[in-house]
Symmetry: C3
């Protein structure tokens, strides 16, 4: 299994968990929870594959991809924590998925011949896509528009791996490190309330 | 006209009716109603065709496809029932569209060479797509996340036709029966309040 | 630079401004404003390119496309007017983008071999797409479903340029005029409260 596929599957798993957790919080039934798990887990990859012309998306062409979000949905349904701790877990798993997907998205875009900045943007879109779809479907303010920075760490992670690969650094630890940096920055942003300047009052 | 195209057009028609009915309920003008009719009628097919790489989507390449949702929009604008009965009609026509689209989506995916489980998932996504777009645009809770099962009958219908075709059963009645089973289960779910287990209270 | 690319870039710029203005109004930080600027500026073109099979979308394959919405976002962040005048500016820039995108969308669809009516529909979808994505993400009622006509002027502009091109009129002024007509009609509709018949009370 290639590095990009491996990181992709882990990313699908953790994003699916966030979708299922949101479903638990909204008291959906097991099928509704499963739908949110599938949509959040696979959404970012679908958008990425459609944009770079890699259709049908990886998750549709290979059934093993589908078992991952289904497993995540079932695990969450049976082992979810109390409602009070759901939001915190959503943030943690979402940050993990963000890091993994921004890197795999950028890598796949590079493999498809996109120029570096474009690959970084595809990585960013892959990273934020699943969470945005999850939030729009469940009626929450999209995470990418909330106070703590979200797209910025994703763009940073995608950009780091693009720069490294352009410089010829193809070792697996490069991608994993970039993903970890993105996840760490996102988690720090949540913990410390990092946000950026807002427009001056008019 | 092939079976898949015929069922597709009927599915577009009934889904477009649900979009127009929602527009009537929200007191939109005839153009807003027409937009919802077009988006709901064609949305599922667009998503399906983009995912399996069949671009441009059938409805864009063939103008006859476009006349169907336009007709549905106009018919609904002039012949709509009282507001009190709109929601019930939305459910009925939506269930019909769900059955038709989950089957045509699965058939088209098989024709494009997707493996069976992937084709069943494409069918499910085709079936639920139009209704979800309609609900997100009009500010309703997406039908796929409400109490009564929605994606499950779609997956069942898609799965049935995929299994049958894999076994060599290509007769038209197979697809029509799978669509009818999906529609029936969805209608029964609404009538009897069928839903699935919800997470245990935390 | 071709006409279609030039009009595209101007359209991206003005649509990105509307996204950034909505971000200012919602008091988002500079990154949230930038996200809305990028999504609104590029959204219509992404949908267009995906539908006609022109992947990866122009904006992803050419980094110069990306600098336009980023510039729009920064300009708006620093030079935005008082909150009370934001909505009026959103309407004006959005009408400009609508005109430009409905025309460039139709032109690109024709260039990709779509039949005339289909090209007009692609143009309409390109025109309305960015604004709809912007509104759904920021929790506003989608502009295409509000009282003043929106999709109709887009369809008219797209239709005009399709008819002209089919008749062999390829001069640049044709496209520019069609865009201007769409924009003008949309602005007049807002100013005069033009709307269409609503369904009879039930």
């Amino acid at each position: 299994m290639s590095l990009q596929v491996g990181l992709d599957l882990i990313g699908i798993f953790v994003f699916a968990i966030t979708g299922a957790l949101v479903g638990v919080r909204k008291q959906l039934d097991v099928f509704g929870i499963q739908v949110l798990a599938l949509v959040t887990g696979l959404g970012g990859g679908f958008i990425r594959d459609v944009l770079i012309g890699a259709t049908p998306p990886a998750a549709l062409a290979d059934w093993r991809y589908l078992s991952v979000p289904v497993a995540a949905g079932l695990i969450t349904f049976f082992l979810h924590p109390g409602i009070g701790r759901v939001e915190r877990l959503v943030n943690i798993f979402d940050a993990a998925g963000l890091g993994l997907f921004c890197v795999t998205g950028a890598l796949k875009a590079l493999a498809f011949g996109l120029p570096p900045l474009s690959a970084a943007l595809v990585g960013t879109i892959s990273g934020i896509g699943g969470g945005v779809i999850r939030d729009v479907l469940s009626g929450r303010v999209p995470v990418v528009l909330r106070r703590e920075i979200y797209a910025t760490p994703a763009f940073l992670g995608a950009g780091l791996v693009v720069v490294a690969y352009t410089l010829g650094l193809h070792a697996p630890w490069v991608a994993v490190t970039a993903a970890a940096i993105c996840t760490l920055i996102r988690l720090l942003a949540i913990r410390r309330g990092w946000n950026a300047p807002i427009p001056r009052p008019a």
